[in-house]
């Protein structure tokens, strides 16, 4: 949102930037070897649920799309609505590559339905920590929760350092928005 929008008080949410998500495929090796973490089998898209009937149709489409993915695609889909009014589309399966592709297809579907601006984040579990992709900023950041509202910042900084070359990491730690109590 530019200065002009601010001056005229227009609220525009930026459309989600989905493409940088694929960088994670190539960074997977770094995560495995240099951080000694492997994919925890769970990933999710977090999006703002809005008051709109068309929106309900999307969740059905997502189900259909991912289930029709065929035999190559080893992941199951589930939905979760958290107590803050955000929808989680959760993919469970052993393969990180499948999760990345599945989440990308899902995000595309949401975009096509006209809800690109309600895409908040994609979240991937790696052992006891998470990698979060921000659709707003097209960057990744680490999230190491140690409780319901505490996180281990020193480790997050180390993860950022380690992955800085492999992934577009968010430089401003103020934008490392926590996603507490993730259902994945």
């Amino acid at each position: 949102m530019g200065l002009f929008d601010a001056l005229f008080g227009r609220t525009k949410l930026p459309a989600g930037k989905t493409d940088a998500l694929f960088a994670l495929s190539t960074a997977a090796l770094d995560i495995e070897t240099r951080l000694n973490s492997s994919y925890g089998g769970k990933a999710a898209i977090v999006l703002r649920a809005v008051d709109n009937s068309e929106y309900d149709a999307i969740s059905k489409d997502v189900h259909d799309l991912l289930n029709l993915g065929g035999g190559d695609f080893r992941a199951t889909v589930s939905m979760h609505q958290d107590d803050m009014g955000f929808q989680w589309i959760i993919l469970e399966g052993p393969d990180l590559e499948d999760a990345i592709n599945g989440l990308h297809m899902t995000a595309d579907l949401i975009k096509q339905a006209g809800f690109a601006d309600s895409l908040l984040a994609a979240m991937f579990r790696f052992g006891d920590w998470y990698l979060i992709y921000s659709y707003r900023r097209a960057t990744f950041y680490p999230f190491v929760p140690t409780g319901r509202s505490s996180r281990q910042e020193s480790r997050e900084f180390r993860i950022r350092q380690t992955l800085a070359n492999a992934l577009p990491m968010e430089k401003d730690p103020e934008r490392w928005y926590p996603l507490w109590d993730p259902p994945i």
């Binding site: 949102m1 008080g9 227009r10 809005v50 009014g85 006209g114």
Partner: protein, 306 residues
Amino acid sequence: MAKSSRPWYGRDVGLSFRMGLTMFLLFALYAAFVLVLLSAQVPLPTLITILVLVALSQVLLSDQIVLWASGARILRPEEAPELHRILARLAQLADLPTPKLAWINTRLPNAFAIGKNPKSAVIAVTRGLVERLDASELEAVLAHELTHIKNRDVTVLSLASFFAMVAAFIVQQFFFVGLSMEGDRRQGRGGGGGQAIILVWLASLVVWAISYVLIRTLSRYREYAADRGSAILTGHPGYLASALQKIQAGVRQTPSRDLRQVESMSAFFIFPAVRKDSVMEIFATHPTLEHRIQRLEKLQQQMEKK
């Protein structure tokens, strides 16, 4: 049929136009005012002194002072985890750094946002607000305040009121201004005489009066814009509508002693801390509750229709 955005949101052409018109009128008024001051030959040192004094008073009325005057205390995340959670989600959605949260210990249900830029912004909520509202209503209020931050309303309104403050200063400190003009004339530097002095005073009075109405009009439009932003961020215009209704009921029940405590803060609040509705709307900092609810309902219908 890939659409990059939903058609119902982001645009309220009428509101943007009226906001632009108000800002243009203010600008024209101020330009005329400066011309009058220059043509009446107000001595430059006097003029510069006034401008510096007004600028200083705006800079010195910093966020910290407003916070301190309202009796707010910054909350650490662990003191109000739920509020911080909601705020972080909204900030991520709006692509803003998460503002700090402050707490005001009063029964009056209200909230305000300050900060000249998003990095230093603070959102203050009162005890009454957190006690009365449920989670989704609180979220709507936080989203309203976040939109004020995103729209840089503190900066816009302090810029808009700069020359209004100059005019008010000249009207109130007229003795000092008149004396400097008279002194200039006596020394034969061509300063304006009696007529010019009266002209400057009258012009200042007129600018002060007109800008008062224009600034308040602008302030009301910014409130509508923030209401709209809240509806877009939460996805539910109804949350804010019900929050505003509860806040109004709460303001009505608050003892006047508690209201007086925060009266000077009224323009900052999401809802004015005055009990009378009889004040004419054009002199008010906020639109009436009825008008705000109407707008929110209209937005709700637009969202349903899509």
